[in-house]
Symmetry: C2
Subunit: 329 residues, 2 copies
Amino acid sequence: MSTLSIATAEEVKDLLADDLAAIEREFSQQSASPIEVVTDIATYLMSGGGKRIRPLLLLLSAKALGCENHSRIRLGAVVEMLHTATLVHDDIIDEADMRRGRPSANTTWGNSKCVLAGDWLYMQAFEAALEERNFKVLDYLISLTKQMVEGELLQMEKLGHLINEEEYFDLIYRKTACLFKVSMQLGAAITHADDDIESHLGEYGRNLGLAFQIVDDVLDLTAAENVLGKPVASDLREGKATLAVIHALERGTGADREAIRTVLADRSFDRVSHVQILEILHRHGSIAYAMDTACAYAEAARLSLSMLPDTDAKRALLWVPGFVTSRDR
Amino acid sequence: MSTLSIATAEEVKDLLADDLAAIEREFSQQSASPIEVVTDIATYLMSGGGKRIRPLLLLLSAKALGCENHSRIRLGAVVEMLHTATLVHDDIIDEADMRRGRPSANTTWGNSKCVLAGDWLYMQAFEAALEERNFKVLDYLISLTKQMVEGELLQMEKLGHLINEEEYFDLIYRKTACLFKVSMQLGAAITHADDDIESHLGEYGRNLGLAFQIVDDVLDLTAAENVLGKPVASDLREGKATLAVIHALERGTGADREAIRTVLADRSFDRVSHVQILEILHRHGSIAYAMDTACAYAEAARLSLSMLPDTDAKRALLWVPGFVTSRDR
């Protein structure tokens, strides 16, 4: 592995400040529609204070390969728009009231308009991507979106049921890692990099995405609501078993398993409290297990970068996994 | 204008039987997903006994220009899948219980799964279209879908309100005529026809689509429920003013206008009956006006074909407008 030093958060911020600002301007342009309600919803959604981690990955991937053309800005906006489109439809499905510390779009505009706003964002994203005149870019984006939608349907099928680790990893791949992977691959695709390099960058994105979602799922269980910006333990209350919970189910006593099963089936903490569940998870080291797994994927992501030349972008890519695993929201 | 004879329904059926059967096989292949629920919903939706008029237009457009390759089958399936995707999302929005004489998908699988099933159909359609490796095809399809989604949002904004003819025509263009137009244009695009020919065929599709939707809206007011396959006067009960109603609003007495306004605002026939509304429409010749307008667009469609060489496909295209304006469901 490279002995290159890891960038600091400050260095990453400096490196990408102009590009991320350009992507924000791209959002404003892309959110404009002759239909006022479209502009309203799209602007609300795209200004929601997301972490912009997907555009960031695409920018770093492109930069690491020396790409400085407009494609990275355009596609940086595209991956965030696709991500946002999936969130709008997911919030309808999960009947979510809050997202990123403010009312979710469906509580403001209603489900019907949000179905269409999500559709519109998909089309706007594809329309922008189409301007690249690059079939590979379109192949990645369309196939990705289909996989994400299938993942959400798969998850609905499994709500309230116990799932195993393999099923969990398939779900979080589709939910998160797949888009992280494609964001990295797109950075390579617009520089016409070798397939081998593109594939390694894709691996970085996949590993990072798995780490990211495992941490997200741990935070859902353990974080404070005012830090998280949405209700805690939403997953359990929606009947979703995540990695720590699956670990405890496999290690726990009969009573532990029964307690977890009850919450998943009830989709509420009416009979078993959130505190009781946390006690079970801590007693079996399940939270630590999930975090260790996330850190292992984060390290795998770093290792996927060994073939890259030493650049500031590579140093930044080496920083991201640590950021992802140490965040508190 | 050409003096070419118009085909009979039987001749059109014979001309397209093999191609339409091939498109049905294409649906079966395209509806298959490793996720069982996706296959279930997609199969249900695609086997719903639609009129397949959009694939039919694409086939005739391609055939009229001498195209016999697989693109016409693939894209014939694509336009029907896109149409179906919009129907699934529209049924969620309109809270429709019935579609084509059977329960709508949302009543069977619930809104959440149908949001995702619609998304999935969009992506599957684009994925299939992408196999054409033809940017023009993708430009048409993505831009079209965005316009349709915007149209549905526009319509929601106008529910319960009086609209004028200009607004009505914009809505039905987006809802129906735009996809008819693109279906015709795609037939030309895959044969790499001249822009001029493509534009005339597009005009045919647009005029035919306007005629089709005007008739659809008249049938919603006048047809019998068992013929229509869904509840009659749904539009008025959803707060939608269509052409005949707009005509009567402009010509009617104060009492007539008040009766129509009441139904649109109430979105029910609780205070003013369906029979009362029909009496108003007939008294002002509003149904006849709408049908005359549809027939004028149907004729304009026929006139758009004058530059085509005389072929069986052209004779069939001359038949379609009459079929569209004389159907009873």
